[in-house]
């Protein structure tokens, strides 16, 4: 037997086990995109230090954009992963509920005047009120899904449809503008720190969820409920409550994303804010290799998936793809992903690798 053959069998083993690892999927997608950009136009990776209008140092470049906007997605992906795992469905109302929570923040900050000179309330208070509002939206979805047993997509269709109107109604359909510069830090830069703030917020959220997963049984419970509800119940769990809980957690994520979104503009555009973001969040979960029909999940893979989606979006923008056409490109990714994750294809991969291994083994024996 030659060393070449031994290598091949070893490689087959290696790739076989790598393929079965969930995190492989987003990493592979990321590598693919990175290499594509490297070949097509290396200037994609250029990062420049400049100064923004306030005279503070900021880093800019495509990678920074990915870090910046991918962070919003990553935060949403945390909640979406949990909802998907427990309920076996997705929440399509997150874009609309971001509009609601963003609108609540502005309303609290502005008080009765839509263009105040000073903030009418501390930002933290506004954020907490928005949290409550977004959690209520999550609770509404959660009750429909968990207790009335409505399919998640159908249940969340209600807020998907009504959310933006509610958001407009909260501010009497006015467009409040915050002039206080501190409010713009959350979606922009903190003076003196050249890295976009959303990245730090996302890092904090990731840290929190990782701690929660470590010090509570959230992970075990949501997976058990998502895999086998009957069995979970007989093991003393309350499946309905756990589903409900995941929707409320997603609500918190929505409030954080809402804060970033309105901070970017210091204002709000009810019909455009966070438009289609739910699809990207769901895509992040899927790209993380998580089954969209619930059960086992890998949070790290989802979060990585979120940044990969943003990587894709930014790449497409770079190549001057019209924003209207973006969804078509993303759809291609979805198709590939969904097909790749079907049992048919997985079995085929496993069988093929076995064959390669067996082939190498036979030669070895000979």
């Amino acid at each position: 037997m030659t060393t070449k053959e031994r290598k091949r069998s070893g490689a087959a083993d290696f790739f076989g086990s790598l393929l079965r690892k969930q995190i492989f999927i987003p990493i592979a997608a990321l590598l693919l995109l990175a290499i594509f950009n490297l070949i097509a136009d290396p200037s994609f990776y250029k990062i420049t230090l400049g100064y923004n209008s306030a005279g503070d140092p900021v880093l800019s470049g495509y990678l920074m954009t990915i870090l910046d906007y991918g962070s919003e997605l990553a935060i949403l992906a945390i909640g979406m992963t949990l909802v998907t795992a427990a309920s076996g469905g997705q929440d399509i109302s997150v874009g609309a509920t971001i509009a609601i929570s963003g609108s609540v923040i502005l309303r609290v900050l502005c008080g009765t005047n839509s263009r105040p000179d000073t903030l009418q309330a501390p930002i933290i208070v506004a954020f907490l009120v928005a949290c409550v509002a977004a959690m209520l939206c999550g609770a509404f979805n959660g009750i429909l899904v968990a207790y009335f047993k409505i399919q998640p997509m159908v249940a969340t269709l209600i807020l998907f449809t009504a959310g933006r109107s509610i958001a407009a109604w909260i501010n009497n359909n006015e467009l409040p503008i915050i002039s206080d510069p501190t409010f713009s830090y959350f979606g922009g830069f903190i003076p003196g720190i050249p890295i976009p703030t959303p990245f730090f917020i996302a890092a904090a959220c990731v840290a929190v969820i990782m701690l929660v997963m470590k010090f509570t049984n959230l992970g075990l419970y949501t997976q058990a409920v998502g895999i086998n509800e009957n069995s979970s119940r007989l093991n003393g769990l309350n499946p309905a409550f756990i589903k409900f809980l995941t929707f409320v957690i997603l609500g918190v994520c929505v409030a954080v994303a809402g804060l970033i979104k309105v901070s970017r503009l210091s204002s709000i555009n009810y019909s455009v804010i966070a438009k289609d973001i739910e699809m990207d969040a769901i895509l992040a979960v899927a790209l993380g290799g998580n089954s969209l029909s619930g059960g086992k999940f890998n949070m790290t893979a989802s979060i990585l998936g979120a940044y990969v989606i943003q990587f894709l979006t930014t790449t497409l923008y770079k190549f001057n793809v019209q924003s209207d056409a973006l969804s078509a490109y993303k759809a291609v990714v979805v198709i590939v992903l969904v097909v790749l994750s079907t049992p048919v294809v997985r079995d085929w991969f496993t069988a093929t690798f076995k064959k390669i291994k067996a082939g190498a083994g036979r030669k070895e024996a000979a």
Binding site: K214, F215, T216, N217, L218, L220, Y221, Q223, A224, I227, N228, N230, S231, S232, R233, L234, N235, G236, L237, N238, G295, K296
Partner: protein, 519 residues
């Protein structure tokens, strides 16, 4: 007196058959990978009779019905139908219907949101659906004819379950069926509804329809049927006239134990409970929404008892009520003499009760999770949301129980679904042992697992009882129960009908109690 003529009539029955048979099945074989579901089964249905098809779980009843209705294709054998010269082959339910074989399943397969008439005519080669007036008039005529209390234009969902079942039958009858197969039609009906259904069945019988009636309610068989065919383990046991087969005999034929040559296999190491102690658990008048009659129950420290009865007699429903798995509607439960409220599995677990469910796949395993996670699940839930076991603790527990119960798994991280049935069951057992219950309920722990593991589990039960755990053991195999239990609670038709212990623990006694009525 009845028993004396059994043998004669069996011979006579055999000979008077064939002339008025509407359906005759000869030497049917059907295999699935690893299972020979039907092995040379004969079955004859005559014009105008109600014929019970009896057998325990896995006897081959449903396979036979599915062969007759074209859901499965037979491997071997012949099917004859009245009016056809040659043997027919049935490849689909549509073909079966064309041949005049209609089936009404336990679960109603009609469309609840359509009207009664639409349900009767949908999916048929008929212009009726395009002519609403005619369709409704025709439907009304049939309903009136069969005395079914429903209107053609009524929405099906607004009818009671029994009436829906009757509409399904009416649909079948209007397809000019000669053979009507009723697969457990009464399991979700109350007594009056069952009576109504029987009325309809008798009516159809008088019109010459041959009816195959599958049920596990013995009383109903003796109320409405003319003949019984018994299957066991995929083989034909025999065909009997109802008056020639007393209940005890029927039960013995279904279970495959001849009454008289049964040796009494009493376990040696069986645990007897001390008499004077307060029961670990005592229930009075307990009943749930699963349709069982209120029952009394107690178990003492270190005792092994069991529920026995035919499939569907309510064995599982009783223990599910004790564990709070079904919604408990009434009754009191005392734990060590103190009254407790058990409203959910969690409260039962907090009271030291563990329950290994009957359906391992559906209610037991959490398939995609690892063996380790499956083992710690219940103990973890008991410990609380904010107190997860550390990684080291989890690994220790998993290793300990994998060794203790000799679970064959590649590693503790292997998903439980890739284990064999017996090993999956051991994992579930480990899960509950880890909660250190005072009272362990095992519902069919040995079903579908290999013989070696069966013996392991029985031994384990006796060992646990020896250590002071109370165990309720349910099994379809009476041998197993006799070997492990010191007291048996006998159930029939969702009622507790007797309790056997000591000298009475024999196959004969169990069977006669299950059968009830005649001794």
């Amino acid at each position: 007196m009845i028993r004396r003529i059994i043998w004669k009539s069996e011979i006579r029955g055999e000979q008077t058959v064939k002339d008025n048979a509407v359906l005759e099945v000869k030497n049917i074989h059907k295999s699935f990978p690893g299972v020979r579901a039907l092995q040379g089964v004969d079955f004859t249905l005559r014009e105008g009779e109600i014929h019970a098809l009896m057998g325990e779980n896995g006897a081959g009843k449903s396979t036979l019905i599915k062969v007759l209705t074209g859901v499965y294709t037979k491997d071997e054998g012949e099917i004859f139908i009245k009016g056809k010269e040659k043997a027919v082959s049935i490849h689909s339910p549509q073909e079966a219907q064309k041949l005049g074989i209609s089936t009404v399943y336990q679960e109603i397969t009609l469309c609840p949101n359509l009207s009664v008439a639409e349900n009767m005519y949908i999916g048929r080669e008929s212009s009726a659906l395009t002519n609403w007036k005619k369709m409704n008039a025709d439907a009304d005529k049939i309903l009136k004819n069969l005395d079914i209390p429903a209107k053609a234009t009524q929405q099906l969902a607004s009818c009671s379950i029994a009436v829906q079942q009757m509409v399904a039958i009416a649909r079948a009858v209007d397809m000019n069926c000669k053979v009507l197969i009723l697969d457990e039609p009464t399991s979700s009906l109350d007594e009056q509804e069952v009576e109504k259904l029987f009325g309809l069945m008798r009516d159809l019988k008088s019109r010459g329809v041959g009816i195959v009636f599958v049920t596990h309610f013995l009383d109903q068989v003796y109320e409405v049927c003319d003949r019984i065919t018994v299957l066991r383990d995929g083989k034909l046991v025999g065909e009997y006239e109802i008056k020639d087969l007393p209940r005890v005999q029927l039960v013995s034929k279904m279970l495959g134990k001849e009454l008289d040559d049964l040796s009494d296999i009493k376990g040696e190491s069986k645990v007897e409970a001390s008499d004077d102690s307060v029961p670990v658990l005592e229930a009075r008048g307990l009943y749930s929404n699963a349709g069982i009659k209120p029952f009394d129950f107690y178990i003492k420290k270190g005792e092994v008892n069991g529920f026995t009865g035919l499939l569907g007699s309510g064995r599982s429903e009783c223990v599910r009520a004790i564990f709070g798995a079904d919604k408990v509607l009434g009754g009191t439960v005392k734990k060590n003499g103190k009254e407790v409220k058990i409203t959910s599995p969690l409260t039962a677990m907090k009271n030291g009760i563990a329950y290994l469910p009957e359906d391992r796949k559906r209610d037991g395993i959490v398939g995609d999770l690892s063996v380790k996670e499956n083992i710690i699940l219940a103990a973890q839930v008991l410990r609380g949301f904010f107190k997860p076991f550390s990684r080291a603790e989890k690994e220790k527990f998993a290793e300990e129980y994998i060794k203790l119960l000799d679970i064959k798994t590649a590693s503790p991280e292997t998903p439980i679904k890739s284990l064999s049935g017996g090993n999956q069951q051991k994992v579930i057992l480990a899960r509950w042992l880890l909660t250190h219950p005072e009272y362990l309920i095992l519902d069919e722990p040995t079903r579908g697992i290999d013989v070696g593991t069966k013996v392991d589990i029985q031994k384990l039960v006796l060992k646990l009882a020896g250590e002071g755990m109370s165990v309720t053991f349910i099994s379809s195999e009476t041998d197993e129960m006799l070997r492990t239990c010191s007291r048996l609670i006998v159930m029939r038709d969702r009622k507790v009908v007797g309790e056997l212990s000591g000298e009475d623990l024999t196959q004969n006694k169990i069977m006669s109690t299950i059968a009830g009525g005649e001794k």
